[in-house]
């Protein structure tokens, strides 16, 4: 067992940390306050190769491994969780599934502009009536002479107002009301119309919109994977995607810890630094321990994925632990800062608001537990049957 990062991974982590701390972190509070999507930032990330970290070079990416990508998401989210969300959805939920499920023609057509960051990617699954139960979605795709006509409405689509490529899920079989009637499509910005920008608790530098698809006509070459196999695409995407969200949670919690530690060493009450009170020391000790535990689960899940090993259960475990840890520990960071923590003079209240989303998107904590239980019970069943 070797816990050390490779030289490439360390360099990529150091570069992202340096870039994020100089070019992102100083603006994060402003973007949050103004609810501003920092469009100008993404060409800079693209120039460094951060919009296609784990995409092979032949498809315009940097050719690094999945763990490197996870380190990038952690560092970006440590500076600004909204930027982390934008890059996570762009990469894990749009670029990678096209790479995995696409034909050669689809990969060479859609992936390079995404990996080079010339085009932003989005993932459109959720609808007003279809959240955790995504298989019940109602957006329709009807066959015609040379392709499909798609009609419907999607909700809470990250990057939806800025994306050029959408991985969109629609029902192609009206007879089957569940997941088995769903097909994945690759759409362009011209096929969709962004309507309402959502107002959120946090993650304000990430854009979340509703989109309408109003009888968009697309050719057969826009079907990703096979018709009616869209749910396999969606689930495969979320298997890897949730490792990214877990990394985001670790990054947010790390930022909260950094602030809390620095503050505890400076703030004086009762003639002492508050870091001299055991109550505060124990909080910091618990924070650091839980962050490290979550980080280890996240890195392990990432490693399993890049080794091509089963990672559905481990990824769900990483996301469950990391997101709940981040919610708890960002709250503890506020507690360490006291009243200052509750104000916008310090970033910890933002970390707290941002952390909450990690328990919800790419599968709620309840759904993660479902996934974990399913993988536990399925393998237990197999062991029994083998006896």
């Amino acid at each position: 067992m070797d816990f050390s990062l490779s030289a490439d991974q360390r360099e990529i982590q150091a570069l992202t940390r340096e870039f994020a701390q100089t070019e992102i972190e100083p603006h994060a509070a402003g973007w949050d306050r103004e609810h501003r999507f920092p469009r100008e930032l993404y060409p800079k990330l693209a120039a460094l190769g951060l919009m296609g970290v784990c995409v092979p070079e032949e498809y315009g990416g940097a050719g690094a491994d999945f763990l490197s990508y996870i380190l990038v998401l952690e560092e970006l989210s440590r500076a600004d969780a909204g930027v982390g969300a934008t890059v996570a959805v762009h990469t894990s939920a749009c670029t990678l599934p096209i790479l995995v499920f696409g034909t050669d023609e689809q990969r060479s057509r859609f992936v390079p502009p995404l990996a080079r960051g010339e085009v932003l990617g989005a993932f459109a699954l959720t609808e007003a009536e279809a959240g955790s139960d995504a298989g019940s979605l109602r957006t329709r795709a009807e066959p015609d002479r040379d392709g499909w006509t798609i009609t419907g409405a999607k909700q809470w689509i990250t990057n939806g107002a800025h994306a050029g490529t959408f991985l969109l899920f629609a029902r192609t079989d009206p007879e089957t009301a569940d997941a088995r009637g769903v097909t994945a499509f690759v759409l362009d910005a011209a096929h969709v119309r962004a309507t309402r920008e959502e107002e959120k608790l946090g993650l304000n530098s990430s854009s979340t919109v509703n989109i309408l698809i109003e009888g968009a006509h697309v050719g057969r070459d826009r079907v990703l994977h096979e018709p009616k196999r869209g749910f396999a695409v969606a689930m495969g995407t979320l298997d890897g995607g949730r490792i990214g969200i877990a990394a985001q949670a670790v990054g947010i919690a790390q930022a909260a810890f950094d602030t809390a530690r620095a503050y505890a060493l400076e703030r004086r009450q009762f003639g002492r630094r508050i870091a001299d009170f055991q109550a505060v020391q124990w909080k910091l000790a618990d924070m650091a321990t839980e962050i490290e535990a979550a980080r280890m689960l996240v890195y392990r899940a990432a490693w399993l994925r890049q080794e091509g090993r089963p990672h559905t259960g481990p990824g769900a475990q990483a996301k469950l632990l990391a997101s709940e840890m981040a919610r708890r520990q960002t709250a503890e960071a506020i507690q360490i800062l006291g009243g200052y923590g509750y104000t916008k003079e310090f970033p910890v209240e933002r970390y707290y608001r941002d952390a909450k989303i990690t328990e919800i998107y790419e599968g709620t904590s309840e759904v993660q537990r479902l996934v974990i239980a399913r993988s536990l019970l399925a393998s237990a069943g197999r062991t029994l049957a083998a006896r």
């Binding site: 030289a7 490439d8 360099e11 990529i12 570069l15 940097a62 690094a64």
Partner: protein, 258 residues
């Protein structure tokens, strides 16, 4: 055109620790490319890019771990690297270091040798002088603007009363100031490509440096004592309660600074 850039691995972070027993800098922690050297690497890359040809060669002396600092500079875009590493070189002061670096540079015969203004660990800011002297080449230091044309390097540097503009024929040695440029971030492609670039490891014997001219044996610097810097005395804190600007102006006036 061949540009050599001398770079150093220094302990990461701002806090320096000196081991009271050996009176040497504690180098046990993580290391990183000396930030001042990133300015020299950046300038070399810009010179190469604007010339449209040339080669940027990195040169460092240090423990094997110093390869990490080289990797970052390679990732920024340098073409290849030479690492001088030898157990006998441990504890070299700048005199001993200058011998080894000069020997390596004699082998390479670069048109221009670039240094950063100083190393962030020892803050000597003299090594480039010693190396230039050993190579018997002209030296321009503290260069904030650099141009190359027709075999002549021109360096502009700020002085107390204005600017000095200094010209020197190539081959020459230049130490750049940290205001000369904003070093680029290495790209991921650069990072991934760095390990494929040629990296040569040389011993002191390869360079013909005699063992009594390297390491502690070859060093002439002696640390006699260490002491804490004098305390800054009473400090006063002015809180931002509305009357702060007046309080600060009154303070500055009292010290006759305004």
């Amino acid at each position: 055109m061949r540009i050599a850039v001398c770079v150093k691995q220094v302990p990461e972070g701002a806090a320096k620790r000196i081991d009271p027993a050996t009176r040497r800098l504690d180098r046990a922690g993580e290391g990183a490319l000396n930030a001042y050297d990133a300015n020299a690497v950046e300038e070399a890359l810009r010179l190469k890019e604007s010339a449209g040809e040339g080669e940027v060669v990195l040169l460092t002396m240090g423990p094997a771990r110093a390869a990490d600092a080289i990797r970052k500079a390679l990732a920024m875009g340098a073409d290849r690297a030479i690492l001088v590493t030898d157990d006998a070189a441990a504890g070299s002061d700048l005199l001993a270091t200058s011998i080894a670096l000069a020997r390596a540079l004699e082998r390479e015969q670069p048109d221009l040798v670039l240094f950063g203004q100083q190393a962030a660990d020892s803050d000597g800011a003299v090594l480039w002088g010693a190396v230039a002297d050993r190579l018997r080449r002209p030296l321009i230091s503290q260069v904030a603007e650099l141009t190359l044309a027709d075999g002549v390097v021109t360096g502009k540097r700020q002085s107390e009363f204005g600017y000095d503009v200094i010209r020197a024929p190539l081959p020459a040695v230049v130490a750049v100031s940290d205001s000369i440029n904003e070093p680029r971030y290495p790209s991921l492609k650069g990072i991934m490509g760095a390990k494929k670039k040629p990296q040569e490891t040389l011993t002191l014997a390869d360079l013909g440096v005699e063992s009594d001219r390297a390491g502690e044996a070859g060093s002439r610097t002696e640390v006699l004592a260490l002491s804490e810097p004098p305390s800054r005395g009473e400090s006063r804190r002015i809180d931002g309660d509305g009357a702060a600007p007046e309080a600060i102006i009154a303070f500055l006036a009292e010290k006759r600074l305004v």
